[in-house]
């Protein structure tokens, strides 16, 4: 049956909202507008730095939200002895890459703010996996840890000012330029080899954790490694979980676990998240936070197959049929589960499964599969 109004994004949104609600996350509804100043102060946190702004009646510069997390953090309680678990589904407005036009993107996600312990991280990662599973069985959650990467960079003496450039190359898996950059910065050969090896590790989660543990012994603190290992070894699904240190984020905002979710057939990550304690600090908060967002526009674009027909039946009538006769025929067809477009003339460029014509209350099939 052709369902012109069927929206795959909406059905996934419904599953995700129910998933987050089941785990005690409460729905967070926010204003469409936010003070522009919030984004101006945290521009690097935004995926696209262009924001739609306007001045309200009081002369205040407002913006259409390009991001949800910043607003949630701004309005959250700053208490490290409690835990707020929130989920949202909101439209955000971002400049699309290449076209330089703004796009409205439906985003659903969750945030966990306050006393974030290992279980919270485990739960958020599990919910990220389940969110991907709700979209497609063929998914991968790639997890990395910025704390580990930061400690490695500290240990091999990458200067502070060059760490963003190093992380950029790590994010590209660009080992050839990474080697040259590090050598130019005076990093020793062992340090370069360590980072290259870390980026090349792949395989089953338990094997990767073992190799990573051996590789980073004495390089990364025991606390960081223990948290990394205990959380990831507790997570289910070997095939769908990749430990991949090329998943990075801005070190001025993220500090611990960072992750991205991929679904086969969709060319970019459609889930993105991490621990953003540095953002919390930057916003004067003492509590910790972790969260993720799912970008539903990607699902609409790539998973939803174009419908073959606009409508199942086009029913043409003329003035030889009475209103009840036309109405009853439409009712009969829709009761049988078919969508019907009725009218006295055939609309241009419409794809229909069946063209029916009613004359004197009698219906004939004129054409099929047009």
């Amino acid at each position: 049956m052709t369902q012109p109004l069927r929206d795959i994004g909406e059905s996934i949104l419904f599953s995700l909202r129910s998933l987050y609600g089941l785990h005690g996350y409460s729905h967070y509804k926010m204003n469409k507008f936010e003070e522009y100043d919030l984004y101006a102060r945290n521009k690097d946190f935004l995926i696209s730095d262009s924001v739609i702004t306007f001045t309200d009646g009081n002369g205040k510069l407002l913006a259409l939200k390009p991001d949800v997390t910043l607003s949630i953090v701004k309005n959250s309680k700053d208490r490290s002895d409690t835990l707020e678990k929130l989920y949202y589904n909101e439209n955000v407005y971002r400049m699309s890459k290449g076209s330089r036009h703004f796009k409205e993107i439906m985003q659903v996600g969750l945030e966990c703010i306050g006393k974030v312990d290992d279980y919270c991280i485990y739960e958020v990662l599990t919910l990220a996996q389940k969110s991907l599973d709700a979209i497609s069985r063929n998914h991968v959650l790639s997890v990395s840890h910025l704390g580990i990467l930061s400690e490695v960079m500290e240990k091999i003496a990458v200067p502070d000012g060059s760490r963003a450039a190093v992380l950029h190359l790590i994010g590209e898996k660009n080992l050839h330029e990474l080697g040259s950059l590090l050598a130019g910065l005076g990093v020793c050969d062992e340090g370069i080899a360590l980072l290259r090896r870390l980026l090349s590790i792949r395989g089953r989660t338990d094997e990767v954790l073992k190799t990573t543990g051996e590789l980073l012994r004495g390089v990364v603190s025991d606390d960081t490694m223990t948290r990394f290992t205990s959380v990831l070894s507790a997570l289910a699904s070997e095939e769908n979980l990749h430990i991949d240190f090329s998943v990075v984020g801005d070190i001025h905002y993220y500090n611990g676990f960072v992750f991205k979710g991929f679904v086969e057939g969709i060319p970019t990550s459609l889930l993105s998240g991490g621990e953003y304690n540095m953002l919390m600090k930057k916003m004067g908060r003492s509590s910790e936070a972790i969260g993720f967002a799912v970008y539903l526009d990607m699902i609409e674009q790539y998973i939803r197959k174009p419908e073959k027909y606009d409508v199942d039946v086009v029913l043409l009538y003329d003035d030889t049929s009475s209103l009840p006769q036309i109405g009853n025929e439409v009712q009969r067809l829709t009761d049988g589960g078919e969508s019907v477009l009725s009218g006295s003339v055939l609309p241009e460029q419409i794809k229909y499964r069946k063209l029916m014509k009613m004359r004197n209350g009698r219906v004939d099939i004129i054409e099929t599969d047009a």
Partner: protein, 212 residues
């Protein structure tokens, strides 16, 4: 059925060299060597589908997932900054992005420098790193003519042998960045076809090492 790996090759001489590397790496598709106007070639047994695209479009095909991997010049990657993995420097198609000007050019730091280029992003980033105020004049071709006609003070463009510059009385005054062909991969494809992609990278890396 074996999942196919979609590979975008840059049309032209560089693309032919690159295909030869894929073939040596164990991913042949003999039909590609037939002299015809076809753009897509498939070898189901080897699990590869090649297609020829305009060199400057390879990165778009890969970023958007129409191709799982491809070969693009570093100039294109720096200009468009696609969100992809850059897995290997193939060390072929070598040239450099350079600043060139008329022989008698003197840089007056007191005025805005007019820069003609096809590579606006690269030029902007380069002069930003130098702290130099510039006015970008975006052109689509025949960049060398801009300083001659007084349209710009300098140009930022690819220099291979330098012949075109010499013939137009221009000289290189600075190198922005060395350029060569890079093997790139779509980030999502790498998650699902990573083993095949890694095999290609490792085989091609051996060829690069041998050729150096």
């Amino acid at each position: 059925m074996k999942p196919m790996l979609n590979i975008a090759l840059p049309k032209g001489r560089l693309g032919e060299k690159v295909y030869a590397m894929f073939e040596t790496a164990g991913f042949p598709c003999p039909a590609i060597r037939e002299n015809n106007r076809k753009l897509v070639f498939e070898n189901e047994e080897a699990g590869v589908r090649y297609f020829w695209v305009k060199p400057s479009d390879v990165a778009i095909y890969v970023e958007r997932g129409a191709a799982d991997i491809g070969v693009a010049g570093k100039d294109i990657l720096l200009e468009y900054e696609p969100d992809i993995f850059e897995l290997l420097d193939l060390k072929i198609g070598k040239c450099r992005m350079a600043v060139a000007a008329k022989k008698d050019f003197r840089d007056d730091a007191g005025r805005t420098l007019r820069v003609a280029t096809k590579f606006s992003n690269i030029a902007e980033n380069y002069y930003l790193s130098c702290g130099r105020d510039i006015d970008i004049i975006h052109l689509n071709g025949s960049i060398e003519i801009a300083p001659i006609l007084g349209l710009s003070d300098v140009i930022v463009d690819i220099v291979e042998t330098g012949t075109t510059l010499r013939e137009n009385n221009l000289v290189v005054i600075d190198t922005v960045v060395p350029i060569s062909a890079r093997l790139i991969a779509n980030k999502s494809s790498y998650k699902f076809k990573g083993e095949a992609i890694d095999r290609i990278v490792s085989e091609m890396a051996k060829q690069v090492e041998e050729s150096v």
